[in-house]
């Protein structure tokens, strides 16, 4: 064996390592491929050896070759071998190779599951780290499902290095296995407050990524993120959070209002450009989400635009780019504020940097108005001529079209000009956007009736000069415009001046070189033209002309009949036969023109692109239902169709009513007008854009003016658009002059002092009347089409699966699969059994408890029952405690407990929802502690409705779950449960009945009645307690440990001005003790006061924070302090002071730290903790209120709660663990506590006792 190893190592010395390989490749520049293929052969040999070092070396080389583009998937199995090496060096090589070349369809991945699991739980954190990194690149749905639980455990790893990696990878797990999101989310959320900034940042990262795709599910996290935003100093985290807020604000405008201020502050204060930029971006998002018109927001907009202008003017091209990018966002909602920077943006259009030019182009889109459209497009056309490189030119082309066609051509006042712009654009060589120009031509020609004659004339010249376009046809997309030209000339051939010429142009032999679909259109429209020509010629006495035309067709069409394109061939032969027949008839002197043109009669109306989709399903129609009975019996088949037809008949005949009286008709017309006016899809013909969606008074008033062609149409290849610009200018001047005249007249008529009102300043938008009123034909939409736009979502988006409600409490069935889960599925594990049972009993029991309080009369019978159940529960509880002690051996049990725990108090989750409401509705600082609770109470009121709404939903689910999982073992149990349930339900009904009865009588009863249905809400709680108060000012404070620093306590003081005077120059000072010191800025003496950084106008309150350094935290502290301030009246100002005593309770050193039951059990097991206990008598409140109070006032978190017993955890700022076991029976509450610092524990318990003695 030893010999083998030695031999392997010696072999290895002759192997190439990565460096040798690279050197070799560099030395074989001429025959690189050949050299590499010999290397690959060597590698194959090396992989066959047993020595893992040789294999790892080979795999490392393969990773390099993979970068050069060589497929190395054939070595996938060897890579797995190297991954499973026990040596970190090789493992790392293996995982790197895997992350570079494994993907979902790599089949060996399924072999890695156990190896990865082993590495994840390795004692060496770097093994775990390498496995996590690798997994993040090749995680598959299977791996995600199998490893989700392991990774979730790693999220609470002791090493932050692992925690942050585990948190990040969860995002990938969620994507591949969406079911894991809900069970894992609570822990992920905790990580937002992880003491390690790296972990925190990772958690922010993941949640931001999740929230970006499904923002509405994460709204409830807004307060938490808000807190992070105001407290974090890490720019990365800040940027992410601010970006996230940008995604959340559109959903909740109130959030936006709250954000504006801190964001503006950041904008003013930060020196980091990246942060500034993101702040501006989010402020913009906020402003977009808020309804505009609020006066104070125009300041914010101004601030943003002003900051962006600074960015754009910066010499750093990056800032310039981003400035333009953000500007384009403002543009959408506040075009006016951007338009004032038009000069700057037009300047950027000439920048040497293409990225910047493109961004400036984007902005132009919103800069245009009726007034300057022509001018801007002219400028762009110049750029088109100058532009080198087709991409930029194509971009310009699409932008020109975008700008002109936006919102139904609202800025175009002269469509002749637009058509000529389009025609000019066809002269671009090598553009990809021929089809875009073509569709614009078609659109305009079809929808703008008044322009058709002009369009047809232009298209005819295009067709005539087709050879100019088709010079190098195959390579060039511009020939697409011929498609449009041919169709327009054919369809609207009545407008052609010289149809025969055009017909001839369309049948030229050269046409056969065009792409098939264009030829097909040529052929079809040649037929239309032919019909028009015939019509014109038949009126004449001389029939030879008509016959000549037919002959022309017969001569030219055979060319197309031979076409390789089926479409062309089919149409051509069809039409050829038709024309031959017509010729025969003509020879017999039969008039055919009428019949021929009847072939193409009728007008085609444009149909809106989504029309088909938007047809609503008529009421009562179920598309999935069988129309007929499924064809089981043959006899029914014959009859049913008949019945269907018979039913339909009346429907058809209905619209044929003719005898409707005049009144009815008028009424209908009115209704229709109304409907059209309200229908957003009905494009009103009013060309004055702004009014389109507002108050169009109908369609009648629009005069369809005859166009008088003031521009000669003859010259084909010359830019005409410029002439239009001039003409338009003249026209507008004339109009203006006329208007002025009129105004003068008016003024003369009036002559009163009001003349100044009609000041004819610079021409405004509305003043410009279009050259010709244009009747834009509507796009047809089905009646009562649904105005929804949700069809834009991509059904394949992986994030769709992650659109999951996270606020809903977890159900029992939702847990991550654990290792034993699938293997032991058939066998029933006792733990699971117990879990099910407890779940089934849990809900009814809780209700039971509540009802007990409501109805004392039924108490006795109830008590019996609850006793029974309690027994059971006690039993179970013991079982569970065993589980806890058993630790990891019984992992599934612990896991299910966890989920159970999360599911248990529905009030907490609904409270969260209301929290958000409360947080959003409240002013940034609760102005008054007495007021705050009432608000909270008001806010809390609707909460129970939510809770009671969800309760019935979840209740019926539970028995189902139990039925599913409980297959064999406990049938008798089930029966019992059912019985119990039934009984309970009966009782419930009874009670309800009873209550109803009573509520008629007494007011008090009815109040109680209300509370029966609402699950008792948590009483409002506030941690702010009164610090000191006099007639001028009131101070309330909250003391919290600082989790970043083990020796700091943060005191938040709310100062409230109670008098009518202005309070200023407030100074906060505390007499330091040996143990606790107020942190003062550097350079100030130990007795100097701290200036409160604000002044208080009358009735206003504001919050300031002071940091104290403490050394020992095991004892409560009292500090004396003074607040001095100046009271300023209009005439006088006095110096006042207020003394106070700051009480640092031991509780204030505790920090709410979530703890999982497995960790909790370990902690208790460790034996380092010393115990103590306390009994509280006469506590008259529901157990969950009790827990909530301990959590809230004493910064604990519930680890686990089973019925009337709960374990709780907290940690001090110096890392002491405090564990509580709270039990209640009747009005006695006993608390067993353990902590590694007995003095601290004693004090905390005393404080808890005091809390409950007060209530």
């Amino acid at each position: 064996m030893a010999l083998k190893i030695v031999k392997g190592s010696i072999d290895r010395m002759f192997d190439k390592n990565l460096q040798d390989l690279v050197r070799g490749i560099r030395n074989h520049k001429e025959d690189e491929a050949k050299y590499i293929s010999t290397c690959i052969d060597e590698i194959k040999q090396e992989l066959k050896q047993d020595n893992i070092a040789v294999k790892a070396n080979a795999v490392c080389k393969l990773t390099y070759l993979q970068m050069l583009g060589y497929d190395v998937s054939w070595a996938a199995f060897n890579i797995v071998e190297v991954m499973s090496s026990s040596k970190f060096t090789y493992k790392r090589i293996g995982y790197l190779a895997a992350s570079q070349c494994f993907h979902e369809s790599t089949d060996v991945i399924m072999l890695t599951t156990n190896q990865i699991r082993k590495d994840l739980s390795s004692p060496n954190q770097y093994d775990t780290g390498v496995a996590l990194t690798g997994l993040s690149c090749f995680v598959t749905p299977d791996l995600a499902r199998d490893l989700a639980n392991d990774i979730m455990t790693l999220m609470s790893h002791t090493k932050p290095y692992i925690r942050k990696k585990a948190v990040l990878i969860m995002y990938k797990v969620f994507l591949k296995y969406p079911e894991s999101l809900r069970p894992a989310f609570p822990r992920l959320k905790e990580k937002l407050e992880d003491p390690d900034p790296g972990v925190q940042s990772a958690a922010v990262n993941v949640i931001c990524e999740l929230a970006r795709r499904n923002p509405k599910n994460y709204l409830s996290l807004a307060p938490l993120f808000f807190k992070l935003m105001t407290s974090s100093t890490n720019n990365w985290v800040l940027i992410k959070i601010i970006k996230l807020f940008g995604a959340l604000t559109p959903l909740e405008p109130r959030l936006g209002k709250k954000l504006i201020e801190p964001l503006t502050n950041l904008i003013h204060s930060t020196s980091a450009m990246s942060l500034l930029y993101e702040c501006v971006n989010t402020v913009i998002a906020v402003l977009i989400s808020l309804s505009s018109g609020m006066p104070n927001h125009s300041a914010s907009i101004q601030l943003c635009v002003q900051k962006l202008r600074i960015l754009i003017e910066d010499s750093d091209q990056n800032l310039k780019y981003l400035g333009l990018l953000a500007m384009s966002k403002i543009l959408k909602t506040h075009p006016k504020s951007v338009q004032s920077h038009k000069d700057l943006i037009l300047q950027c259009l000439d920048d040497k940097d293409e990225s910047i030019r493109l961004r400036a182009l984007d902005l132009l889109y919103g800069m245009v108005s009726k007034k300057n459209l022509m001018e801007i497009v002219k400028k762009l056309m110049l750029h088109v001529d100058k532009a080198e490189g087709t991409t930029y030119r194509d971009e310009l082309l699409t932008k020109i079209i975008d700008i002109c066609s936006q919102s139904n051509y609202q800025y175009i006042t002269n469509f002749e000009w637009y058509i000529s712009i389009l025609v000019e654009l066809t002269r671009l060589e090598g553009t990809r956007h021929g089809h875009l120009i073509a569709s614009q031509m078609l659109d305009v020609a079809i929808r703008v009736k008044a322009i058709r004659a002009f369009a047809v004339a232009q298209m005819a010249t295009l067709l005539d000069n087709a050879h100019l376009l088709t010079g190098n046809m195959q390579r060039n997309g511009i020939c697409e415009v011929l498609y449009a030209a041919a169709w327009i000339c054919g369809e609207f051939s009545e407008h052609l001046e010289n149809p025969i010429q055009t017909l001839e142009a369309m049948l030229r032999p050269k046409v056969a070189t065009l792409p098939g679909h264009i030829q097909a259109v040529y052929v079809q429209n040649a037929a239309k033209l032919f019909a028009t020509v015939l019509k014109g010629q038949e009126g004449n006495t001389d029939s030879t002309a008509a016959q000549e035309t037919s002959q022309l067709m017969i001569d030219r069409l055979p060319l197309f009949v031979q076409s390789a394109n089926l479409e062309v061939q089919e149409r051509a032969s069809c039409i050829l036969q038709l024309v031959k027949y017509i010729q025969k008839l003509q020879q017999k002197d039969v008039e055919v023109a009428e019949e021929v043109s009847a072939l193409f009669a009728g007008e085609l109306n444009p149909v809106a692109p989504k029309a088909q989709k938007k047809v609503p399903v008529p009421e009562g129609l179920d598309l999935d239902a069988w129309i007929n009975e499924p064809p089981s019996e043959s006899e029914s088949e014959d009859e049913q169709p008949k019945a269907i037809f018979a039913k339909e008949e009346p429907k058809h005949s209905r619209p044929r009513h003719t005898e409707v009286d005049e009144k009815e008709l008028a009424r209908r017309r009115e209704a229709r007008k109304q409907e059209q006016a309200n229908n957003p899809f009905y494009i009103k013909a009013s060309p004055s854009s702004q009014k389109v969606y507002q108050d169009t008074p109908g369609v009648e008033h629009i005069p369809v003016v005859q166009i008088d062609l003031s521009v000669p149409l003859k010259v084909p290849g010359m830019p005409m658009s410029d002439q239009y610009v001039k003409l338009e200018e003249e026209r507008r001047q004339k109009e203006r002059a006329e208007k002025k005249k009129k105004e003068k007249k008016k003024r003369k008529e009036k002559r009163s002092g009001r003349g100044k009102k009609q000041d004819s300043g610079p021409e405004s938008e509305e003043d410009i009347t279009p050259a010709h009123m244009v009747d834009i034909v509507t796009e047809e939409m089905p009646e009562n089409a649904l105005p929804s736009d949700d069809d834009d979502k991509d059904p394949n988006d992986p994030h769709k699966a992650l659109d999951i409600d996270l606020d809903k409490p977890l159900a029992d069935s939702e847990k991550l699969p654990v290792r034993s889960h699938r293997a032991a599925e058939s066998l029933k594990s006792p733990a699971e059994d117990g879990d099910v049972e407890s779940a089934a009993i849990h809900a009814p029991k809780k209700k039971n408890g509540k009802e007990k309080r409501e109805k004392k009369k039924d108490k006795d019978s109830d008590r019996k029952k609850s006793k029974e159940e309690k027994k059971k529960k006690k039993h179970k509880h013991e079982e569970k405690e065993e589980d806890l002690l058993g630790g990891q051996a019984e992992e599934p049990a612990v896991q299910s407990e966890e989920t159970n725990e999360v599911a248990a108090p529905p009030t907490s989750t609904s409270a969260e929802v209301s929290d958000l409401d409360f947080w959003l509705s409240n002013a940034p600082v609760p102005s008054n502690t007495q007021e705050a609770p009432t608000v909270a109470a008001a806010e809390a009121a609707p909460v129970p409705k939510v809770a009671s709404g969800t309760a019935p939903n979840s209740e019926p689910d539970e028995p189902k779950d139990t039925e599913m999982e409980e297959t064999k073992s406990s049938k008798h149990k089930k029966k019992k449960q059912k019985k119990e349930k039934e009984e309970k339900e009966k009782k419930k009904k009874k009670k309800h009945h009873h209550h109803h009865h009573h509520s008629d009588g007494g007011g008090e009863e009815s109040v109680q009645n209300g509370t029966v249905e609402d699950e008792e809400p948590l009483p409002p709680m506030s941690n702010y307690c009164l610090l000191a108060e006099n007639s001028y000012i009131k101070m309330v404070c909250d003391i919290q440990g600082n989790l970043q620093d083990g020796s700091q306590v943060v005191v938040s003081v709310i100062f409230e001005n109670k008098c009518d005077s202005f309070l200023k120059s407030m100074e906060f000072n505390v007499l330091d003790s040996l143990n606790s010191k107020l942190q003062r800025p550097e350079g100030s003496g130990p007795h100097d006061g701290l200036t409160v950084p604000f002044q208080l106008p009358p009735g206003v309150s504001n919050e300031a924070r002071f940091v104290f350094t403490v050394q020992s935290i095991v004892m409560p502290q009292k500090l004396k302090g003074t607040l001095t301030f100046i009271v300023k009246n209009e005439d006088s100002s006095t110096h006042e002071k207020l003394d106070f005593k700051l009480h640092f309770t031991c509780t204030s050193y505790l920090i709410t730290t979530p703890c999982y039951s497995d960790a909790f059990a370990k902690l208790l097991e460790s034996g380092d903790l010393k115990g103590s206990s306390v009994r509280l008598e006469g506590v008259n409140m529901p157990f969950h209120h009790l827990l909530a109070r301990i959590c809230f006032h004493h910064h604990f978190s519930v680890v686990e709660r089973i019925d009337s017993c709960a374990s709780m955890y907290s940690r001090s700022i110096q890392g002491h663990h405090v564990c509580l076991l709270v039990k209640t029976s009747g009005q006695t509450v006993s608390i067993d506590a353990k902590c590694d610092e007995p003095t601290l524990l004693g004090n905390v318990l005393d404080e808890i006792k005091q809390t409950f003695s007060q209530c």
Binding site: I5, V6, S9, L18, Q19, V22, R23, R26, A53, C60, T63, Y64, M67, G69, Y70, D71, K87, F88, T89, R92, I93, L96, Q100, H103, E104, Y126, L132, T133, S136, C137, K164, K165, L168, I169, Y171, K172, G198, S201, A202, N205, V206, E209, N235, W236, I239, K243, M273, S274, Y277, E278, Q317, N318, K320, Y321, L322, D353, E354, S355, I356, L358
Partner: protein, 159 residues
């Protein structure tokens, strides 16, 4: 999210490629070529952002790059990343390389592609930014290198 990180030299030779979304090898090479083509023709004094190429991503994606001497560092990212932030990140990454290799030059990247990967793994994981603090990154890389060294010496002692 970061979709891909590419490092190539002034001639378009890849020095490190890291895709966070699967592409077959030939597609990867095509993307490198396209990206090189887009990036290389830009002056050094124009902005560092580039609307993504046609192959990678779509309108939501951007190329953010920096050009150092003979090397281009290109990150392809979507709109959830801050543009300036990514520029800073590239800077952090390069400075880290500089620290780990002591005056990094292209040759270091050529001969130690694996080490560069290991450093990158401490900065970006699965397309998400893992760590931005250079000292932390360097510390983690060094610990792992020490582990590797001790394992190598174990093997030698075993001989």
């Amino acid at each position: 999210m970061i979709k891909a990180i590419l490092i190539f030299n002034n001639h378009g030779k890849p020095r490190l490629i890291r895709f966070y979304q699967y592409f077959a090898e030939d597609m990867q090479q095509q993307i490198i070529r396209e990206t090189f083509h887009l990036v290389s023709k830009r002056d050094d004094n124009v902005c560092n952002f580039l609307e993504g190429g046609s192959l990678i991503g779509g309108s939501d994606y951007k190329l953010i790059y920096r050009h150092y001497a003979t090397l281009y560092f290109v990150f392809c990212v979507d709109s959830s990343e801050s543009e300036l932030g990514i520029l800073d990140l590239i800077q952090v990454f390069v400075e880290t390389l500089d620290k780990c290799f002591e005056n990094v030059c292209e040759l270091d990247l050529i001969f130690h592609m694996d080490k560069v990967h290991y450093i990158l793994q401490e900065v970006v994981m699965g397309g998400m930014v893992l760590e931005t603090n250079m000292n932390e990154i360097v510390a983690q890389v060094e610990v792992q290198n020490r582990m590797e060294k001790s394992e190598v010496s174990d093997v030698k002692q075993g001989l």
